[in-house]
Symmetry: C2
Subunit: 481 residues, 2 copies
């Protein structure tokens, strides 16, 4: 019998992996955040054909150490400050390793009783932590792309008289073009969702935002009115609490009012900033979120849970079920009244993702999570203050959470300044200890510092700021600016 | 500074987890496959509110041992023979634990160079292992639900003159209703995909299958002709290589011929049986698969890789990109010619899933994987032979791979026999050491034995067969049949 690895060999290897992971987390800061390799370097070191014969496990783990670990971008590095910085925290890694051993597919209650009930309970913990009303029911998806897709699918499903589930959208002259609204700062996943759902990219109205990158409600109202006048069918508004570029929060109460008046589904993309709602002092900025029909928050973004873990809260789980539930004979079970997670979305397979989130919440505690989020916000405020106080730099957007957008100011007009900041970003990222990303705000190239990793300290942020100033000074000298 | 767990505490806990997982895999066979709990039992043992203060990690791990591990359905149990039996094998678990430590989101080459290139290489290994032509390009999704959804989305995207990406499907009288074809044995994910894409459930034509549960090609041709005559727009055929109920394989060459004549996109759902294509002796049955436009195969089903890992092969990756790629400013990078995995689907976030698959392929080797798949097929053949030879039982479908469908024969007509088999299944599953599922074939309730776990041995299958016969005899005695 071939079977699995011999038990002793597995145990020994698993202990080696325990040390590999522990060593990695202790030493990750010694790597450059971005590996110094060119496209194709890793592929060139991998055999073109698969091995016919079994290889010793230790050789595979040696190759992992030699070839893989050094050549990933180090998301768990204290200097990873790009996109949204995340953390695969210790408790989360433990949970993920345990879940891998169980290898449960919790598609049905019967196929994963504890995973199903732990998912429901843990999502309800998160609901309470965010101070959302009891009516919201949460479940875990892999990504916010999927959570927001499901939200838009529910919005489409509830359109009266359309029966999109049964009849689809094509070849139905009686169904007008559907439209979706989101600000010009909203995440690209909204466009991708609309494309997938057959709404069409041209029917996503990107509403202008104000000077603080918040959706303009008058512009939203005007767009809806225009679409109605043109015979289109407005379907949903996606408001963002914590936009990707600047972490701005759309004016949720006004948007909720408008959605109520217009009978539109309101989805709130709080994938990043939803985590901050566990701190009472951040809730005022996100007030109105509780009026949404659905909310997405990603514990894998700013709640220290390894990817992937995206929680979708919906106000009407029956609607979600009626949009997606489809039970073939081979998946029928007897248990009455239970949640079968497969009914809540598009994927039949369901990993046991709540385990890691449960371990993170318990091991840090709600107060401990708040403390960590506050620390990240404090680091961001410190950096923004330093930038504001420095000559030759400007903060490019308000800093409500843990992301700072800034640029170096140079003479010679916008185009010259954009090119300078592009070169500045390249110089910072080439140095090794930090990785920043960029965005474009009001047409202007802008650098972003996103704080969200548990290993990032005040000393790191100070070192970054030194690097930014030093790099800018060198570039200015080179360019005579 | 709050930060992550102290390094020593994490290392100690990770070693405890190493032992927890190793112990679990050694002892999982001692559990009943289905935990003996009622809905709500686990939830009742979980606090209603999240803990405000941090809890000691060892207490959390104690609770895992006490409350979670015993109350999952044990997919890694040698007696798990329901649905498709899977294995979280040792090498795969090691890979998943390492990936959790790295916590990479390989959305861009830049954010995960080794993960991106390892995914491309590992998928190409799998392509070679399955003897698929070079033109196929593979990438990893979470589930076959998503892989098949993407395939159907690509089929929709390439419809000439429709521009579904830009304009959507609604309010366009010039776009006829779209139709999709799959057999009455195809997986429910095809319906869910069609619902999501705005095609509509009623426009999924479930084509009748023959006595061996293979799609009837004349019926398919007739359905396409009927839809064309009615002004509808046939879009794609989904053929299955290894259906969920019986693992039947649709007549792929004839379906490929028809798709070619009709200009239809052909997607092959080989989520389960695709793994068997690594054995040359299984390829004849799946010949024609190489003519598909896309193929899904799930290494998390029958290639001993922990969930989730679904590989989608497409013949035209440029088409996939043009269906989905959408690059906002904050995700633009400079590297030319690289693969950015986010362009290949709907989800922006991409876990490092290739690591576990790479470790499985290397640690077992292609020959070792073949040997394991052959062993599972041999166990299924043995069981089918035993059932055929026994009085009072019948094998209900051909056994091309590792799944056996059967039923007990009883007097009193079909209805009585169905009720008897339902009770038989309940009795088998209540015993503890095994978990089987059921299906309905040609209207008749049928039990399924799915072999796919690396811990399942000939002794287990013999014990199962004893249990089946014993349970049936007891039931017959009770019911006087």
């Amino acid at each position: 019998m071939p079977g699995d690895l011999p038990p002793d060999e597995f145990r020994r290897a698993m202990h080696r992996v325990a040390d590999l992971v522990a060593d990695y987390l202790e030493q990750v800061g010694d790597y450059p955040v971005l590996p110094r390799i060119a496209p194709g370097d890793v592929a060139a070191a991998l055999p073109a054909a698969p091995p016919l014969e079994a290889e010793p496990l230790d050789r595979v783990l040696d190759d992992y150490q030699r070839l893989i670990e050094p050549n990933v971008t180090h998301w768990n590095h204290p200097g990873f400050l790009a996109y949204f910085a995340i953390t695969g925290s210790g408790p989360g890694i433990l949970g993920e390793a345990l879940a891998a051993g169980l290898n449960v597919n919790a598609m049905l209650w019967r196929t994963g009783p504890a995973p199903t009930e732990l998912e429901e309970r843990t999502c309800d913990w998160l609901r309470q932590m965010m101070d959302l009303p009891e009516g919201f029911s949460g479940h875990i998806n892999d990504t916010a792309s999927i959570s927001s897709l499901l939200a838009l699918a529910v919005a489409r499903h509830r359109l009266p008289g359309v029966d999109v589930r049964g009849k689809g959208l094509a070849g139905r002259p009686e169904v007008p073009p559907l439209t979706v609204y989101a600000s010009d700062q909203a995440h690209s996943s909204i466009d991708k969702g609309a494309i997938l759902l057959g709404i069409g990219h041209e029917n996503v109205r990107r509403i202008e935002s104000d000077a603080a990158f918040r959706m303009s409600v008058p512009a939203l109202a005007a767009a809806i009115a225009r679409d109605r006048a043109a015979g289109r069918l407005p379907m949903a508004v996606v408001a963002t609490a914590g936009t990707t570029s600047t972490t701005s929060v759309d004016p949720l109460p006004e948007i909720a009012d408008l959605c109520e008046q217009e009978g539109l589904f309101l989805h709130v993309d709080a994938a990043y900033a939803g985590s901050a709602a566990i701190c009472p002092e951040h809730r005022a900025l996100m007030a109105g979120m509780e009026r949404a029909d659905s909310i997405v928050v990603n514990p894998h973004k700013w709640m220290f849970t390894p990817v992937d873990c995206s929680v979708l809260f919906v106000r009407d789980p029956a609607l979600l079920r009626s949009a997606f539930s489809l039970v073939p004979e081979y998946l029928r079970t007897d248990e009455a009244g239970v949640t079968n997670l497969m009914d809540l979305g598009i994927q039949l397979g369901r990993r046991f993702r709540s385990l890691k989130l449960w371990m993170v919440i318990r091991t840090f505690g709600v107060e401990g999570l708040r403390e960590r989020i506050r620390e990240h916000c404090a680091l961001a405020r410190w950096l923004a203050g330093a930038i504001e106080a420095a000559a030759g730099f400007e903060v490019a957007a308000p800093v409500p959470f843990s992301v700072v957008c800034f640029r170096a100011k140079v003479e010679g007009g916008a185009e010259a300044e954009d090119r300078f900041n592009e070169r500045l970003l390249a110089a910072i990222n080439a140095a090794g200890p930090f990785f920043l990303s960029h965005t474009v705000l009001q047409g202007r190239y802008t650098l972003r510092v996103a704080i969200g990793n548990l290993r990032t300290t005040r000393a790191d942020v100070e070192e970054l700021w030194d690097l930014v100033r030093g790099s800018a000074a060198r570039l200015r000298a080179e360019m005579g600016n």
